[in-house]
């Protein structure tokens, strides 16, 4: 079973993603912040990280992505940015930070499932 890490400060979003993806036989782990994401990712080594861009607390989604992509241990993780709709800059910055793909909030759960399947093959 593939491991997916969902990183978002909003618990509702996390729960929704979990509810969505757990139907498809993925193992879901959660992180609340960018900081937590880096530690959890290192420890759990998920196959996919769904990373919210806007997060408080010093390390936002972009920074966390950068850190993870630079770290040889976690470089292999695929990272999907969860960005706000219409923020073109977020997308650009996300890719610049090393993200592999992006997804827009608010999202359709079906769309999310398809995206995840695409990315994980």
């Amino acid at each position: 079973m593939k491991k997916i890490l969902i990183v978002d400060d909003d618990s509702a979003v996390r729960r929704l993603v979990e509810a969505t993806l757990s139907l498809e036989d993925y193992q879901i782990i959660q992180a609340e912040s960018g900081k937590e994401a880096t530690t959890v990712a290192k420890a759990e080594k998920p196959d996919l990280i769904i990373m919210d861009v806007m997060m408080p607390g010093g390390i936002d989604g972009l920074e966390a992505t950068r850190i993870l992509k630079n770290d040889p241990e976690t470089r292999g993780c695929t990272i999907i940015m969860l960005t706000a709709k219409g923020m073109a800059d977020d997308r650009k910055m996300g890719f610049a930070a090393g993200a592999d793909d992006y997804f827009v909030k608010p999202f359709s759960p079906l769309g999310l499932i398809n995206k995840v399947e695409d990315v994980l093959g």
Binding site: A12, V13, A19, T20, P56, K85, P106
Partner: protein
């Protein structure tokens, strides 16, 4: 022998007597000559001739030399060639040596020849047996010359003759002196006569009047030209006194001058040849007046005493008239100039007034104003512009705008804008202000000034400080993005869960229920956010919201709101300290719940570690004006003075605020710390609280200590209605 001696003696005596007689006769003749003769040469010659004829001298000569000793006048008498020889010597400009000798001494020189004195004298050789008598002619201290006589020895009366001859010589000298004096007198007389003649010519021919008065100011002489001046003849003038011919004013001037001069004269201090110049007005024979300029000076007698006054008078009537004309003319000119000046001054005043008015307008215009001419020189700048740019108009007036501004960037921007020459160009420029974090933003807008004939005649640049606008814009867009962010999250849940419910059949019933509950909860949150936004827009647009004020039990509302909050958080405790007796307040319940909700929400949000949140209420009595304590906030005391009110305070033990944050707390969109997005919110909560409290005629204020906590207090007036019991909650 005795007989012959007696005879000789008798003959000698007779001869002696005869000689004396002839000497006396000579003297008589010479005296006659002295009396009679006036002409020097004839006189001299006459004397010499007399000596020779009457006295039978061999020869006689007189010579009158000048200072160098050369004979100027001379006479020689006597027969023979000796005379010629003497004449030659005298003519040659030399005195014979005997003459020189005699000239040098006052005693008579008697020479018996041969004598060494005569050596070399051509006469001496020819004359033998003679005695020469030479005597100096002097009188009154002057030496005129010498008289020389040559007498045969036998005729010479040795004893008496020299003395007698000396006497004759003195008489001759006296005569010469008298003649000289006479000559001098005659010369002086002639000189005086000539000068008088010249003077007379002058006086009669000049048009100026020459006059002389005595010390009583009566005319002793007046030239004929006086007639052409004042129509009186000189004869008539002599009989007039000056008061007849001078106007009273001029008369006074004349008398005063005369007195002054007399005083000066008496003091003896002044320079003796004084001239005085006066302008006097004369009265003509026909009564008309004329102006004359008189130059006068004192005339002195031989003793130096002031004896008369002489003067020259010139008619200056014409000059005076010309002066008067000029004066009138210049007065007229002055008047014209004055008029013109006051005209100019008036129009200047009007211009100044207009300018002052414009200045006033410019000054009060809050935006900066700069006007440049076609050469880009600054010709106008108002106070606001001075403040914005940090230059004084007086420093930059008429200077090209590039030169005038210190800031290079601004200068460049302005320059390029002005070069473009179009109208309506605009640019924003960042001012380096005191706070580098928050630079001011200056907006410059240019506008072409069209002069006459629609020709380009300059540019108006309007400078506005748009810092605040920008700030507000920034805050608004920040708010909107924040609001959008806030909206997104609940929406994500709603969309997500509802879709899941739609597409999946394999969701467990428990899960299903959870999903639906979530959707509902998020919808509610969404609704709240939207409500807030609507409130904001209402506040923004200035439209009031209507309050539905009903008598309500404040404490009940407090308790209700507080308990619902207690459910949402277990980190916080809510302590309610309220008086037992309920208080009825006229208020809109819904709005009051919102107020309390917003305040409590902040209290919870800003004490993330938890802690106690205390709510208390206090009744404020009507203190009346003047009873307020001086330390209290003015608003508070004034408020208290006017109403009886209910004060509610909500205190948390959270992170508190800085004084700066306290000041801004009621500002729209203001969030104390936007970087910390865990504390979510629209930044409108307290703004809404303030609006709502003030809509109830209340007041709200905040006290806070950083790190300790915040207390929000508000007070609303209580309107106690008579005859009503406690309100049912």
């Amino acid at each position: 022998m005795k007989f012959r001696n007696e005879n000789t003696m008798l003959t000698e005596k007779t001869e002696g007597t005869r000689q004396l007689r002839s000497l006396l006769s000579t003297i008589r003749n010479i005296n006659k000559l002295i009396i009679r003769e006036r002409e020097t040469d004839r006189f001299l010659q006459g004397i010499c001739d007399n000596f020779v004829e009457s006295r039978e001298f061999s020869y006689a000569w007189i010579a009158l030399p000048d200072n160098s000793g050369a004979p100027v006048s001379f006479a020689v008498a006597g027969p023979g060639e000796e005379c010629l020889a003497i004449k030659e010597i005298l003519k040659s400009g030399e005195l014979p040596s005997c003459g020189k000798k005699a000239l040098a001494q006052s005693e008579i020189v008697v020479i018996e020849d041969p004598s060494p004195t005569c050596a070399g004298c051509p006469v001496a050789e020819k004359v033998v047996d003679n005695v020469a008598v030479i005597v100096r002619l002097e009188s009154h201290g002057n030496v005129f010359g010498v008289l020389a006589l040559s007498i045969p020895k036998d005729k010479f009366i040795e004893k008496e003759e020299p003395a007698l001859l000396k006497e004759i010589a003195d008489d001759i000298a006296f005569a010469l002196h008298a003649m000289e004096t006479e000559k001098k007198r005659k010369a002086a007389e002639e000189s005086l006569r000539q000068s008088k003649e010249k003077y007379r010519l002058l006086a009669e021919n000049t048009s100026d009047v020459i006059w002389v008065t005595d010390m009583d100011l009566r005319f002793t002489y007046i030239s004929p030209s006086v007639e052409s001046h004042i129509d009186y003849t000189p004869e008539e003038m002599m009989s007039l006194t000056i008061d007849r011919i001078l106007t009273p004013g001029s008369l006074e001037v004349a008398y005063r001058a005369f007195e002054e001069e007399k005083d000066i004269e008496a003091s003896g201090l002044q320079y003796p040849f004084r001239t005085r110049l006066l302008e006097l007005e004369l009265i003509r024979k026909d009564g008309s007046t004329a102006w004359t300029e008189v130059k006068m000076s004192p005339v002195r007698d031989p003793e130096g005493r002031w004896s008369s006054i002489q003067g020259v008078a010139r008619d200056i009537t014409e000059r005076k008239q010309a002066e008067k004309r000029i004066k009138k003319h210049s007065e007229k000119l002055e008047r014209m100039v004055k008029e013109r000046t006051s005209e100019i001054r008036r129009s200047l005043y009007d211009t100044e007034e207009a300018r002052d008015r414009m200045d006033g307008i410019l000054k009060s215009v809050a935006d900066g104003l700069i006007v440049t001419d076609i050469y880009n020189r600054i010709i106008l700048m108002n106070r606001a512009a001075e403040d914005l740019l940090g230059v004084r108009f007086s420093e930059v007036i008429d200077r090209p705008i590039e030169v005038a501004l210190h800031d290079e960037t601004l200068r460049e921007l302005l320059k390029t804008t002005l070069e473009r020459r179009g109208t309506g160009h605009q640019f924003d420029y960042e001012l380096q202000g005191e706070d580098p974090e928050h630079p001011g933003i200056l907006r410059a807008r240019t506008s072409i000034i069209e002069g006459k004939d629609s020709k380009y005649s300059g540019v108006i640049i309007i400078l506005s400080d748009v810092t605040l606008e920008r700030e507000l814009d920034r805050m608004k867009s920040e708010f909107i993005s924040m609001a959008a962010h806030e909206l997104r999250n609940p929406l994500t849940s709603i969309m997500g869960y509802s879709e899941l419910l739609m597409i999946r059949d394999d969701i467990k019933e428990e899960e299903r229920k959870k999903y639906i509950s979530n959707i509902n909860k998020q919808s509610v949150i969404l609704a709240e956010i939207i409500n807030d936004l609507l409130d904001v827009s209402r506040i923004e647009s200035g439209k009031g919201f209507t309050l539905n004020k009903v008598p309500s039990d404040m404490f009940h509302i407090i308790r209700e709101v507080t308990s619902s909050f207690q459910l949402q958080t277990d980190k916080h405790t809510f302590d309610i300290i309220l008086p037992e007796e309920p208080v009825e307040v006229m208020l809109d319940r819904e709005k009051m719940e919102q107020v309390l909700g917003n305040i409590l929400s902040n209290a919870v949000k800003y004490s993330p570690e938890g802690g106690a949140i205390r709510l208390s209420a206090k009744k404020l009595l009507d203190f009346g004006i003047g009873d307020s304590e001086p330390e209290e906030d003015e608003k508070e005391s004034a408020f208290r003075a006017l109403h009886s009110a209910l004060e509610i305070s909500i205190a948390d033990q959270g992170i508190g605020m800085t004084p700066d944050q306290v000041q801004k707390i009621f500002d729209k969109f203001y969030r104390a710390d936007t970087s910390n997005t865990t504390i979510s919110g629209t930044g409108l909560g307290m703004s809404i609280v303030k609006q709502l409290i003030e809509a109830h005629d209340g007041k709200v204020w905040v006290e806070s200590k950083l790190g300790k906590g915040t207390t929000v207090r508000f007070a609303i007036p209580v309107r106690v209605q008579q005859g009503r019991g406690p309100v049912q909650s």
